[in-house]
């Protein structure tokens, strides 16, 4: 492949309210996944495996958590003399007018920074997000695109059964010629048919993409790049590329939880993480995980750096987690640096990073509504003198009132 044939555009202006409180202070792209990854690792690895040397990362707000994770892109081989990583935020692209531009959609951010596509000299551009968790062969998409000779190629996945949370996705109809005919919101009404889910992965000529962005801005339309692309795949000859691997739309806490739990099944893990396209992530030098003679761990994924002395069942444990003696962690996600005190009991719980569950605390969620504990919280069981009832104390800075996910009380 000629150097830099494709440039990558990571479109990270994804709606994240549905994942509160996990996304209160991070974009969806920074959500931790499967013990040691972040969602951004997947498109980053897919692009770099395909030989993409220039990637633009577009975000509406702070880049801090993304930048901290990706840094120079060294782990993905992006710190070479060719191309590299470029970060663009609406906030910084127009300092005087940042707030207004945010409301106008992200298109202005792309318009202001389009130079990066031009400079990369890439013939094609691939637009991807992180919400659609998958592991896709971008080279295969390019080959298919060139064979089919359409203006745009969009990636889709055929789903037999739609669930309620799939409704906000867009579904496509594809004609016998393999071209996209229409685009509509997924509805459960159509669920008896096979649904072709739009995975929001697009490949097109760089010049076409730049033209589209310029036209929209010239007409002073305020919209998002995604809207522009949705319109384009209906109006221009668009080829559909079928993806057959593992896919999860991370658009709710439930889906996020399920995606992690899916990795406990070997077939899913193999499809997403152990296939021919390895997923790279930021390297941390953690010690090996220690299992004490009191530990009892079954059907679980565990990262390096943990100290496990209690019981862990059907759970996903991230780096540097401590589970004390006589603690029980069941059907839960425990993120990096969290601590589960002795005698504590967790069922269907998501502990965000650096959460401390004090001894003998019980948190019991359900499969459909796991309890989410915010980053840096300390949850303790304190016997109230008057009533003798335990109360849950949440010392985290902020409790977001829009969310139902408060620690629940169980005596």
């Amino acid at each position: 492949m000629r150097k830099n044939k494709i440039c990558g555009i990571l479109n990270l202006t994804e709606h994240r309210q549905a994942l509160y409180p996990l996304t209160l202070s991070r974009p969806i792209a920074s959500l931790p996944f499967c013990s040691r990854y972040r969602l951004i690792d997947f498109p980053m690895s897919d692009l770099t495996t395909a030989g993409v040397e220039t990637i633009g990362v577009f975000l509406n707000d702070s880049l801090r958590s993304i930048y901290d994770h990706v840094r120079s892109g060294k782990e993905w081989g992006m710190d070479s003399i060719h191309g590299g990583l470029f970060f663009f935020s609406s906030i910084t692209s127009d300092p005087g007018n940042g707030q207004r531009r945010l409301m106008d959609g992200d298109i202005y951010n792309y318009f202001k920074n389009m130079e990066f596509i031009e400079k990369s000299g890439a013939e094609y551009a691939v637009v991807m997000g992180t919400k659609m968790l998958c592991n896709i062969d971008v080279q295969a998409v390019l080959r298919n695109h060139i064979e089919q000779g359409a203006d745009i190629t969009v990636v889709y996945k055929t789903m037999d059964q739609l669930t309620e949370s799939d409704q906000e996705m867009s579904c496509m109809t594809i004609g016998e010629d393999g071209l996209v005919q229409g685009l509509r919101s997924c509805t459960l009404r159509h669920s008896e048919d096979k649904a072709l889910i739009n995975m929001e992965i697009y490949l097109l000529k760089s010049t076409l993409l730049m033209k589209m962005i310029r036209n929209v801005v010239a007409e002073n339309e305020h919209c998002n790049l995604n809207d522009v692309l949705h319109q384009a795949i209906v109006n221009l000859p668009t080829n559909g590329f079928e993806y057959t691997g593992y896919l999860k739309n991370i658009n709710s806490v439930k889906n996020y939880y399920d995606a992690n739990m899916d990795m406990l099944q070997e077939a899913n893990m193999t499809a997403l993480l152990k296939g021919s396209q390895p997923i790279h992530t930021k390297v941390k030098n953690e010690a090996p995980t220690y299992y004490s003679d009191t530990s009892d761990v079954r059907d679980s994924l565990v990262a390096n750096g943990c100290v496990i002395k209690g019981e862990v069942n059907h759970s996903v444990i991230f780096r540097n987690v401590t589970v004390e003696k006589n603690a029980t962690v069941d059907s839960s996600l425990v993120m990096q640096g969290s601590y589960v005190g002795s005698g504590a009991e967790l069922h269907y719980v998501i502990l965000d990073k650096q959460v401390r569950i004090e001894a003998n605390t019980k948190l019991i969620g359900t499969k459909d509504k796991p309890i989410v504990i915010e980053k840096n919280s300390v949850i303790s069981r304190i016997l109230e003198e008057n009533t003798g009832l335990p109360i849950v104390e949440d010392t985290s800075d902020r409790i977001d009132e829009k969310t139902d996910y408060h620690p629940t009380l169980f005596p």
Binding site: C34, S35, R36, K74, L264, E266, M269, L273, K274, P278, I279, H280, T281, V283, K284, N285, A287, P288, T289, Y290, Y291, S292, D293, S295, D296, V297, R298, D299, S300, L301, V302, A303, N304, G305, V307, V316, I317
Partner: protein, 381 residues
């Protein structure tokens, strides 16, 4: 750029007493503790001590070692100043430069050292498991106005005759050095770690070479010669965990002790991390039938069997009903079903067929790299 101090790690040792484990790789590249190689300790110590320039002198079976070290980025040593340079013996107009000993290896690399213009030269061995702040030793060296400082550690008197023993006066000045004395006068053993004033060491090495009295070894030749000439040679007493894993038994013991979360090395201490090359691997998975007790497990493993008091390295698979006890399983080994492994060290990429057994006893069993254990013989088929 002038570095005040640069380090030379002598990583050419064959480590022949490690048998199968050093047949194809140099001793410093032998895996340790589930995710490290022995040399990671010296390299991490350099990085944590703020040393920017490190020469790694290799000789014996260097392939694995070279690919492990790479450009030093895993230890944060890929800096603008000097970084890591791998120094191998090479031919020149003066003939072949095969390293005849520790000091000879330094002599052969004088031009590399000179190019960095160091005031002090830190000489390390790539063979030892320990955490040490070399900056403290350098401060000691400067405070004592020494021309050479030897790091020493107290060993039990009954073992002292296996080491180079330093006899000191009450100012820590070395007055006498004895290599493996039958009747040791002290128990201060040399750790093979030296700081020299480079200018002085350089003069000794070049002059001795010019007069044909080659100084090949620091312990045997250089230190005695320094003492004979009345140089200021001091002993820097190190008080901490230090292990030379030179034999199968000592390698096994050091690994087994390493499992203990209260081990003196304190591997989880984030202020003095031990870095290594971290390959890409998903988290490890323990199945519903797995039973893991008193053990270390790292990324990429799949455990369906029972693991007791053992170290399981990257990407190891352990099948159902298999049992691993008191053993070290190095990376990428595949263990089938109903396999029993006890008191063993299993090299990387080994394969155990179903029902295979490797049971060590007083002697630690060693399964070599890529070795296949068990399976049907022709007759059984």
């Amino acid at each position: 750029m002038n570095d005040e101090v640069i380090a030379m790690i002598l990583a050419g040792g064959q480590g022949s007493r490690l048998g199968k484990l050093t047949r194809t790789i140099a001793k410093p590249a032998v895996p340790f503790g589930g995710k490290y190689r022995i040399i990671d300790f010296s390299l991490s110590n350099c990085s944590n001590s703020g040393i920017k320039t490190v020469g790694v002198v290799t000789q014996y079976q260097p392939l694995e070692l070279n690919s492990h070290i790479g450009n030093g980025s895993h230890w944060g040593l890929d800096n603008k100043e000097g970084g890591v340079t791998i120094l191998q013996p090479h031919s020149s107009l003066d003939g072949e430069k095969w390293f005849e000993g520790t000091a000879h290896a330094i002599y052969q690399n004088i031009s590399y050292i000179d190019s960095h213009h160091p005031t002090y030269l830190l000489i390390l061995s790539g063979d030892h498991i320990y955490k040490m702040d070399y900056e403290h030793m350098l401060d000691f060296h400067k405070r004592k106005k020494a021309t050479a400082t030897v790091a020493v550690i107290r060993v039990p008197f009954e073992e002292a005759s296996r080491f180079g023993i330093m006899n000191t006066d009450n100012t820590d000045r070395i007055i006498d050095f004895e290599e493996k004395p039958s009747e040791p006068k002290s128990n201060l053993a040399s750790m093979g770690i030296y700081i020299f004033n480079w200018e002085v060491l350089r003069r000794y090495l070049t002059e001795s070479h010019a007069t044909g009295q080659n100084m090949d070894d620091f312990g045997k030749n250089v230190i005695p010669s320094f003492l004979a000439n009345g140089e200021n040679v001091f002993a820097y007493a190190f008080d901490g965990y230090w292990k030379d894993v030179g034999t199968i038994r000592s390698l096994w013991e050091a690994n087994m002790a390493f499992i203990d979360p209260n081990h003196e090395l304190n591997i989880r201490d984030r202020s003095w991390r031990i870095y290594s090359k971290n390959p890409v691997a998903p988290p490890h998975y323990l199945t519903g039938a797995a039973k893991v007790r008193e053990s270390l497990v790292v990324d990429g493993c799949y455990v369906a069997g029972e693991v007791e008091h053992s170290i399981i390295s990257q990407n190891v698979k352990i099948g159902a009903n298999s049992k691993v006890k008191d053993s070290i399983i190095m990376s990428n080994t595949v263990i089938g079903k109903n396999v029993t492994i006890e008191h063993a060290i299993v090299g990387e990429h080994a394969v155990f067929a179903d029902n295979a057994q490797v049971i060590g006893d007083q002697e630690i069993e060693v399964v070599g790299y890529n070795e296949v254990v068990g399976g049907l013989t022709d007759e059984e088929e």
